[in-house]
Assembly symmetry: C2
Homo-oligomer: 228 residues x 2
Amino acid sequence: MAKNAKISNAVIKRLPRYRRYLIELKKKGVEKISSKEFSNLIGYTASQIRQDLNNFGGFGQQGYGYSVDGLYKEISAILGLDKEYRMVIVGAGNLGQAIAKYTHFHKQGFKVCAAFDINPNLIGKDLDGIEILDYENIVEYVEEEEIDIGIICVNRDNAQEVADKLSFAGVKGIWNFAPTDIEVPSHVALEVVHLSDSLHSLAYHMNDIQKKEAAAEELRRSDKSARD
Amino acid sequence: MAKNAKISNAVIKRLPRYRRYLIELKKKGVEKISSKEFSNLIGYTASQIRQDLNNFGGFGQQGYGYSVDGLYKEISAILGLDKEYRMVIVGAGNLGQAIAKYTHFHKQGFKVCAAFDINPNLIGKDLDGIEILDYENIVEYVEEEEIDIGIICVNRDNAQEVADKLSFAGVKGIWNFAPTDIEVPSHVALEVVHLSDSLHSLAYHMNDIQKKEAAAEELRRSDKSARD
DNA sequence: TAGATTGTTAATCGATTAACAATC
DNA sequence: TAGATTGTTAATCGATTAACAATC
């Protein structure tokens, strides 16, 4: 059964992934799956899968496994994906516009209701049905339209100011794409996407692989010369 | 001094963040910082900061602290940011176009050389100086132009095929934005940005906060009625 | 030199994996 | 019922934090 203990973020971060694989299984018509079969598919240990799921409840059946559809529905509910979310984008530059147009989120119940900017050349424009409005009016819009999530796509220097305004206006969550760290009140959830950090991490791993390959090559070379 | 042991990914993921704060400090003209001062700023413990840095070398000086500029340069070098990287985008839809136009990466030495698509309506177009080319020709382009990184912005179903082709063509790293897991050869570095997963995680935390607030409210209510 | 702060070892904490009794 | 597989406790592993000797 469901526990009251705090669930670690490592577990939460795995849930969307479980859910993606369950969607694939459903598509293939698979009706049940054991933790061992799931382990082979998703790459987590069977033990970890059972531990993770048991944080939320006993969704399986001994001797049988887990119902694919049942588990899909449970995880969707845990993540809150049985609800609809209303979002605004702040900063209608390239990234903001791309997210506005990215219909993928809309299909999953995350609706972009409007975008906001301070640039008079952008205000009034339409992005595939999503209007760019004046940032001046964001607080009343968020209140009146009952916006749940604010997406920050402004530059680094303005990110905190936008986060403060969104929090004040009453959003429940902030999705930050600005390349800086921001602070939000404890009643606002914060999720960060640091694209630059991600790219830097990629650069590290690329160089690490190169370095290891060079070292291995050096070893072969010196081995060979020792044999000669 | 630098160790040979494998450095955990948790450490690597913190390096770009250290670097961001060091840039801010440099801007402010701060020349040295102790692990304790850095801890107050960045929010990691002083102990963790010293541990992290000592994975790569003894960059500090006892009794003094760390040189801001020196540490910035060391971390930049560790991440491989003292080099230039040549990138291609595969999939010139909304996201691909946004990344192509996002000049932020270019400033940091990550140059988008071209975008690729199969859509005849897109091929030949120009995205702020970046041309959209025919995906047919991607292998020879990557080879001839010595591309280091492939950015996957195609849909889920085509992501693995694209990853295979990029790996075959000789990229050293793949940055995957497609909402699916892909496999790459061990000599290719892989970094993933799962936007949907991130959004789902945000949804979880929003609902978690709401649930806790509701529970706290309920507690106050029942407390009050017990007192009455 | 005395004070400050690192580099590094030891202790703690938390997350993952293994084992197995419960049970379908 | 026997076999399979979960739910859950125990053991292990790895990452973080604390402590302190080394040293600038």
